[in-house]
Symmetry: C2
Subunit: 330 residues, 2 copies
C-alpha cells in the first residue's frame, strides 16, 4: 500500500450506547432476539428505556468502536458519521477524539437527536441491541469527507449503514474513491438480521467492492443462505482478498489466497459483556493488516482485542491496548 | 418512628457523572487535589473535559446515589433535586426511577443544563471530582415537595447543597418540616473542601438540626479543625443522636448514646473506583436504621454496600444489593 496519512478511515452510524444489565425475560417480554440488533423508532426507544433498569452511557457505533480501537492501538484513524448538536452528540465527539481518532463530520443542527442504542446485557454476557438511528442516517453523499477517504490505506464500512438509503449511496461513493486512490475497502456485515434485510445488495457489494470482509457465523451463513458454517465459508472463499470469519469462543477462521488460517481465541478473564467483540476484532486485524503483518498476526491481534473487550462492560476498551499487544504479542 | 410511606427521602444535587480513567499527572496539570471535589464553571468543565480521555456516563450525585442504594435494598426511597429538561436530565430521571425511588421534582425548562461531574479515576482507584452544578442549584424552597418530606421517617441531606444559597434555605426548611412530623434528619458532610467553605454554618446545623451525621476522617477533622481523628471524634460525640465516621480501609466508627462501635470493612474484590463509597455506606446504614436494627447491624450493612461499590466503576451498584445482604448478613 502506498504511503497515506490515515491507516484506517471508517464510515458508520454515530451512536451513544445505553448499557443495561437485565434478565432474559425482558427480551421475551419485548420479543427481542438475543444477540441481534433491532431498529426502533424514537417512541419505541423511549418506551423500552422506561421499562428497563438503570443504564451506563458510553460512546458506541460499530465502525466507530473499530476506529476508536485502531486509534488506541496507535493506528492513524479517522471516522465519518453524523451526530446532532446535542449532549449525546458532544459525548460521542469527545470520546472518539479523546483516543486520537480524527472526527470532523459536522453535527446536524436540526432534525432527529443523536442516535442511541439500548444494549441489554443478560447474565450470560450476551448483548441484544435496540437502535434508534436518529441523526446518524442523515449522512448524505455530499457530507462525506472524500479527501479523508482518499487518504486512507483502508476504508472500513459497517453493514448497518445499509439501513439508510442516503448512507448506502455515500458508502458506495466512498468505496470507489478509496480504491481509485490505491486504498482498499473493508466491510463488516454487522448483524444477521441486517444481512437478511439486504442480502442481494450485500452479495453484489462483496463481489464488486470489498477487499477485506468481516462476518460472524450467523452473518455469513445468512448471506449465502447456507446450511452450515463450512458451506458458507466455501461460498465466500475467493470472492474478496481476505475473509475473516469470527466464531465467538471458537476463535476465527481467515480465508485468503494462501488458504485457510485458524486463529485461537484469547481468554483474558471472566466474560462480562460481548458488546464490541466483533468491532474490536476488526480493529486489531486492520491495524496488523495496515502494518503489513502476516495474516495470522493480523488474526491474533484481532483476537486479542476482542478477548479484552468482552471482559468489561461496554464496547470501548478501558485497557491500554498497546500495552496488551506488547505483553501478549511482543 | 411512626409509620410513614417513605423510609428515606433525600435532597441533593441531581448530577450525571462522567467517569474517566486517568493518570496522576492529569491531576497535577489541572491543580486538582486527589480525593476531593472542586466546583467548576461550565467553561472550565468544557475545557477540562476536552483535555481528558474517553468517559463513561452514569447517574450520580451524592444523596441521589444514597437514595438509589436505599431503593435497591428495598427501602422506600424518594429524591428531591433539579435537572434541566435535556438529555442528561432524562438519563438522571430514568436511572433513579428505574431502581424504584420516587423522583417528582419537575425539570427546569430554562437556564443552565443538567449538572455534570467529571470524575477522574486514578490507578490507585481514588476519585477526584470537578462539578459543574448547572441546573441543580435552581432548587428553591418553593420547589420542595414538603409533603414527601413530611412523609419520611428519615430526611437525608448532602452537605454539597451548602454551595447554593437557595438550596441551603430549602434544606433547612425541609429539616424543620421533617422533625415537626416526627421524622429524623441525617446529614452527610460530603467533602472536606465543602466543610472548609461552610464550617461555622455546618457546626450550627449539626448542633441544631441533625440526628444522624455521616462524615469521613478528613471531613470531621476539618469540621472541628482537629489535629487527629480521635480529637475530632471527641468533639462531635453527643452532638447528634448518632455519628457514623467512615475511615476507608479501616472501616467505620459509630458514636451513639451507648458508646463507640467499631465496624470492620468488607473486602469483596479488587479495588476499582472509590466513587460512591460514602454514599453507599449511608444507604446501607439508613436502611438498617429505618428498619430498627442495632447500631452495629446498621454499620455492617453500610460497610457491605460501600465494599461492593468500590469493586466497580461508578457510584450506582451494578450488583443486587438485596442478594448481597442476604448472603453476607442473612
Amino acid at each position: 500500500m502506498s504511503n497515506k496519512p490515515f491507516d484506517v478511515v471508517g464510515i458508520g452510524n454515530a451512536i451513544v450506547d445505553v448499557l443495561v444489565k437485565t434478565d432474559d425475560d425482558v427480551l421475551d417480554n419485548h420479543a427481542l432476539t438475543k444477540g441481534t440488533m433491532a431498529l426502533v423508532t424514537e417512541e419505541q426507544a423511549e418506551r423500552l428505556y422506561a421499562s428497563v433498569g438503570p443504564g451506563m452511557e458510553t460512546s458506541g457505533g460499530s465502525a466507530a468502536n473499530t476506529l476508536a480501537g485502531v486509534a488506541q492501538l496507535g493506528g492513524r484513524a479517522g471516522f465519518i458519521g453524523r451526530v446532532r448538536d446535542d449532549q449525546l452528540g458532544a459525548i460521542f465527539a469527545h470520546d472518539i477524539r479523546a483516543v486520537g481518532a480524527r472526527f470532523d463530520t459536522p453535527a446536524a443542527s436540526s432534525g432527529p437527536s443523536t442516535a442511541r442504542c439500548l444494549i441489554l446485557v443478560t447474565p450470560d454476557a450476551q448483548r441484544t441491541m435496540c437502535t434508534y438511528l436518529g441523526a446518524s442516517v442523515q449522512l448524505h453523499p455530499n457530507d462525506l469527507d472524500l479527501e479523508m477517504v482518499a487518504q486512507a490505506r483502508m476504508l472500513y464500512l459497517e453493514g448497518y449503514l445499509w439501513d439508510s438509503d442516503d448512507a448506502k449511496a455515500a458508502f458506495i461513493a466512498a468505496a470507489e474513491v478509496a480504491r481509485a486512490h490505491g486504498g482498499e475497502v473493508a466491510l463488516s456485515l454487522s448483524d444477521a438480521f441486517c444481512v437478511e434485510r439486504h442480502r442481494e445488495s450485500f452479495q453484489e457489494l462483496v463481489d464488486g467492492h470489498v477487499d477485506v470482509l468481516f462476518a460472524n457465523e450467523m452473518e455469513i451463513t445468512s448471506l449465502y443462505k447456507a446450511n452450515s458454517f463450512e458451506e458458507a465459508a466455501d461460498q465466500v472463499r475467493g470472492r474478496c482478498k481476505v475473509v475473516a470469519l469470527t466464531r465467538s469462543e471458537e476463535g476465527s477462521v481467515i480465508l485468503n489466497g494462501s488458504g485457510t488460517h485458524r486463529i485461537e481465541p484469547y481468554k483474558l478473564g471472566p466474560l462480562v459483556d460481548t458488546t464490541g467483540a466483533g468491532d474490536l476484532y476488526a480493529a486489531g486485524f486492520l491495524v496488523g493488516y495496515t502494518q503489513g503483518q502476516s495474516i495470522e498476526a493480523c488474526g491474533r491481534l484481532g483476537s486479542l482485542c476482542a478477548g479484552q473487550v468482552v471482559t468489561q462492560l461496554g464496547p470501548r476498551p478501558q485497557a491500554d491496548l498497546r500495552q496488551l499487544r506488547a505483553t501478549h504479542l511482543g
